[in-house]
Symmetry: C2
């Protein structure tokens, strides 16, 4: 027996499904309100699909016109339809929906899908109608899906509660949850055309009540669902999403296609962190935390879903490529490397076994090229040999239209080998017509096949990403030794001031919400991040006195709540060696800025002791309205915005996330030293990151805090937060 | 009449086809040597394809066994087959090929395709056979395609001279030239399965004689070919490829899928430029120069080919999106922005016209969402309105399976609008079965359709890239005022030394091939790039004397041919203010290095005046064995290798290419100033780039030259080449 590469404790159980959503997924009976005899109406399509999908529960039709449909009576009101009914589906014009929903409530129904459009998506009148529906739903404890959606379906129950033209999807193991009904329609049609099965599909529409996060647990609880695919345009409660998704993704992979990334507007912020922490940074950090795999295109989402549903995760990234021609092998090698995988080095035993099997001119190195004469049996035996090599973590089999044999025969020969392997195998089946039989064999056998090696390589890379996630999932956020009560004392006056101002809606954040330089310094100190003494001088005389106490040389920094980036207005003067230089600098800095910006509030200048040289970094945190505290790490100075050498993680961070930020930025990598650049105190930087992350998590009212630069000295010499900017206030909407 | 956005002069004519290749593409008669009665043999497949493809020329079969095939006699030797024969196709075991080729030469044939494998690809014995074939071919002036290829075909002639299983591809307007026969087989089958037509296909195999570059002009000359697709694993004569491709791409787009990028090994080089100028940098620079569009995947190549063959290039990057549902519109907007395009801002007139046409709840902003009820007529009229807006450069029409109408009806309605437009329109046709009729209409009408908005957006981006290329194509390399004869004088002693050493194969480059610091300085000066005085001191005493002449403060730099990166061994000491510091530094640097590296040659140290501060850049040039002189520009210091903030262009450069390097690196962008960073003398940097580029082009023996750093001072203050490394020798094989 082989040892598991991921000897973690058993993952927590799947989160419990919300019992109030049960009627959507297992109704004893369904009422179609707006069922129609007119085949061009959606109310006809839904009635037809419910009946034709072989749904085993009761189906009742409701329409004030009465009559009959598909051999059943049409009741003129839902109140007249017999038991059992657990779910109502409304396909009537929007203005009539509130009354119908009221009748459902009276009838005792607790779940409804509003398929009709004409609500919030059409403007204010529609929004009012939607609010009215929600009010009625709340009054009767009805859970609502929609409005403006195409419904839902379950291929295993079975139940097709959509109004789309048949045929619906085949039974399968991938669920699809979508904010867009049109995408659902396209996906169902595309999946059917590719014999790709779905388990459940939920179209959420306007999400007046039930959201993508609400249904996650219910869909994951379906034993037939092995992978959850999400098409989302945004998430309302990001923290709850992360919580739910984290629990689910330990058991079942979640893939998200998140669109709308370029739609987010700009927002007024006081820090680099705020400016760079856009919607996408927060989503990426949240998805990484929750083990949600982010797809860039719809095709990727379904390519990856097949591999994740059908293949075990690999133990490593060494891949064997088996081919009968050189060109596709080269393409595959390129694509594997581009995806972070590499070609496995084959053992001597493997090469010897292949040599015995294959013609002398075959290439026994990886990619293994069996030549065009390769028989189905050679494909199968070579694949078995490769998968038996302990240095091989997975395989790609490339099958162009074979000149001598049929691709179908090769498929039949290799499928048993793949089924017996505990390693992932994907197929690059190149061509179209000559490979159709093979496509069908592989699909039936649940072996993922792709038309080109590039897409097959991408699927292997996602399997490796999944394995990597499973190995780190479940690690707990790091807790540092901090003095939270001291931090509370420092922040209290600012929190009080903020409280006093609440109710106002100022165009710019109130000045008092910005922490004084000294308060910011003390706040960081409470969380274990050292910062040099900094004192406010209101006059050149005060500055000179402070400098004498602190010790020469000193730095002088403009003290004003009105300038976000002091260096933009020459508000930082370094390395002042004596009193004459200091006095001259003070006068120049404070006076010239007062003259240039007469409207600004200039308090004076801060005096700070100069620090030894080191590597300068930026560390920051903001409160994201959706995902909560979010930490940024990267290159300081002008590089931060010029190069965008930054990375983000949700706070509080795990040790692994701190390492991820350090390893995925140039700022972090060069802490280990690079050519003539000496190594810096990387451990102290990591500790500062964890401390800042915990501070942001402990104080949700700390809207932004940024250290720029955090200077890292040589090894074991620690770090200093040289410039700090901290502001209390509201979270940022992303 | 609208004015052309690219008022350039008429492009040069297509390059002439090589007359010796004419028999491949328009033979009066073909002899199949190895024609077989056995349907499992390739020699049967080829005979069958030639006959069944309705080739109008003579077809003769040759096989020593004689007999008859497909109603025709089989001659026992090519010498017995009657006229006309212009082309022989050999499908016989490799050992018999030389004799058959000899008989072809005797028979007066001047063109042959060797389909058989068993040559260079199988090892040394096969390579010897291949060499023998080439010797015979040269002796009889026979041009050879192959060996180890699947042949060629022309769907318009028509002629199918491949041995692949039928059916062959449909007639079309995209040619395919491939180094891999398996990829040809896959592409033909895939294209047939997607009703995608090809014009010509050439499988090149081992390229014993005819290469991809040789056939470019012949394929481009085909009037039916509108786009050339290349699958290539490498290019032997890069400079000739660039020359040919540049001429062709002015008329017909070329798309290349270049694989094997991760196969290139490491090489020993003495500069950052050499280390970073890998194969891929050279290919990318060459493709950009030649207007060759580089695809990353096979799917991209054919997605793009359709758009390029069928759509006019857009005038700009403002795209209108027309949809009947919100979700796909958001996806499209994301994908367009990601591809460098943007959503067009619609004029008031356009919005008013749409308002009149569409229901009140429709979204009249871009993406225009007509809602699910959109009729074919509304699709067509809305599209016409959008294309009439002068602010719209192109359009994407999104068509999920429409709930009320058929996708086929929408296709029929919009096709005439698209045909009448002078702007590109691509279709995102979402789904599979419900859209099949629409797929067929669009394909027949030559309107590119894609299954997902992401791929449609990618096609529009490539059309914009093509338009951008056409606007810059044909610009001539910039010529600077230089003193080439002075440079020749400086280099002559080194060239002489190199000559004297030729024949030796030293493990490391001979010391004498490295230019002295002063020679390097003078060389750059001859090409208009200023560098500070630099003088070699052999002793501390000499250093002190030189510093007094040059003026304090000075920098001291280790003088040794053995250390590529001086700073790695503390070989650079800056800002030495007086004689005591200088003497101390000299002793320390020279002595400690001598002690640490007793095998190294340490000449002493260079003394150089200190320079004012500025922005530090790296400029370098190497001679690439395939593409010739190649220039690099980017961030200097440790960032060059840490961040890889570099870009490459072939030398000599055009002004446009110099701008491209400046605009596509952070080093170049920040020359204009960034926040507190002052602007630098960008014009002087560009001039230095052009000068270096010309130097590398003028002296092919200058193997590497690197300026690191080139310091750019504030505006109008010029640049200084602070550290220069130059070496003569052989070009680098990439």
């Amino acid at each position: 027996m082989t040892q598991s590469p991921h000897p973690t404790t058993k993952p927590p159980l799947l989160p419990p499904s919300d019992p109030s959503l049960a009627p959507f997924f297992a109704p004893r009976g369904v009422a179609v309100i707006g069922a129609s005899q007119d085949p061009t109406k959606l109310g006809y399509g839904l009635a037809r699909n419910l009946v034709q999908s072989n749904f085993q529960g009761a189906v009742h039709f409701v329409n004030p016109k009465g009559g009959s449909l598909l051999g059943q009576p049409i009741y003129t009101s839902v109140s007249l339809a017999p038991d059992p009914i657990d779910l109502a589906i409304l396909l009537i014009p929007a203005p009539f929906v509130p009354q119908a929903l009221y009748e459902c409530g009276q009838r005792g129904l607790r779940a409804a899908i509003i398929g009709s459009g004409g609500f919030r998506e059409t403007g204010t009148a529609g929004a009012a109608l939607e609010t009215e529906c929600l009010r009625i739903a709340h009054a009767y404890s009805i859970r609502l899906i929609g409005p403006n959606c195409i419904g839902l379906l379950d291929t295993h129950l079975p139940m097709d509660a959509t109004f789309l033209s048949p045929p619906g999807p085949l039974p399968g193991d991938v669920a699809f949850i979508s904010h867009s009904g049109a995408i659902c329609a396209a996906v169902i049609d595309w999946a059917r055309g590719h014999s790709f099965g779905l388990s459940r599909l939920v179209s959420l529409g306007n999400q007046a009540d039930v959201s993508e996060t609400d249904v996650l647990a219910s869909v994951a609880a379906d034993p037939f669902t092995r992978v959850l695919n999400l098409y989302i345009e945004g998430i309302n409660n990001g923290q709850r999403f992360v919580e739910q998704a984290s629990l689910i993704s330990r058991h079942k992979p979640i893939i998200a296609l998140k669109v709308g990334r370029f739609a987010s507007g700009q927002r007024a912020v006081a820090s680099h962190t705020g400016a760079l922490a856009g919607q996408e940074s927060a989503y990426n950090a949240a998805f990484r935390r929750a083990g949600v795999i982010r797809a860039e295109t719809s095709e990727e989402m379904f390519d990856w879903a097949r591999a994740l549903a059908w293949c075990p995760p690999p133990r490593g990234k060494a891949i064997a490529v088996l081919t009968d021609a050189g060109g596709p092998g080269v393409t595959a090698a390129d694509a594997l490397e581009a995806g972070g995988m590499h070609l496995a080095e084959l053992s001597e035993a493997t090469q010897a076994a292949l040599q015995e099997l294959l013609p002398p001119a075959a290439s026994l190195h990886n990619p293994v090229d069996m030549l065009a004469s390769a028989s189905p049996e050679q494909y199968a035996q070579s694949l078995r040999i490769l998968l038996d090599d302990p240095g091989v973590d997975g395989a790609m089999v490339i099958l162009p239209p074979p000149p001598m044999y049929t691709a179908g025969a090769v498929a039949k020969a290799v499928i048993p080998v793949i089924h017996n392997a505990e390693k992932p195998v994907v197929i690059a089946l190149m061509g179209e017509r000559l490979i159709q039989e093979a496509v069908e064999h592989f699909r039936a056998a649940h072996v993922p096949e792709y038309r080109f090696p590039e897409r097959a390589a991408s699927a292997l890379a996602v399997l490796a990403q999944r394995a990597e996630y499973l190995s780190r999932a479940g690690s707990q956020p790091s807790r540092c030794e901090v003095d939270a009560s001291q931090a509370q004392v420092i922040l209290q006056p600012y929190l009080d001031a903020l409280e006093a101002q609440s109710g106002e809606t100022p165009a710019k954040p109130p000045a008092s919400s910005l922490l004084s330089a000294d308060a910011a310094r003390q706040l960081l100190a409470a969380y274990g991040i050292p910062a040099p003494v900094i004192e406010l001088a209101r006059s050149a005389q005060e500055a000179a006195e402070l400098a004498s106490q602190i010790g020469w040389p000193v730095a002088l920094k403009l003290a004003s709540p009105d300038f976000t980036h002091k260096s933009d207005v020459n508000g930082v003067l370094l390395n002042l060696q004596d009193e004459a230089a200091l006095r001259r600098s003070f006068t120049q800095m404070v006076e010239s800025t007062r003259q240039a910006y007469p409207q600004s509030e200039i308090l004076g200048a801060y005096v700070q002791p100069m620090q030894p040289a080191g590597q300068d970094l930026i560390l920051g945190a903001v409160q994201d309205a959706q995902f909560g505290p979010l930490v940024m790490f990267g290159s300081g100075g002008i590089e931060v915005e010029g190069l965008r050498d930054v990375a983000f993680a949700l706070a509080p961070m795990t040790e692994e996330e701190a390492e991820y930020l350090l390893n995925n930025t140039w700022a972090g990598r060069k802490l280990r030293g690079f050519r003539s650049l000496a190594a810096a105190d990387r451990a102290a930087v990591r500790q500062a990151l964890l401390g800042l992350s915990q501070l942001a998590a402990d104080f949700p009212k700390l809207a932004e805090i940024e250290i720029n630069p955090l200077r890292a000295f040589t090894e074991r010499q620690g770090v200093m937060a040289i410039d700090i900017r901290a502001r209390l206030g509201k979270a940022f909407s992303s």
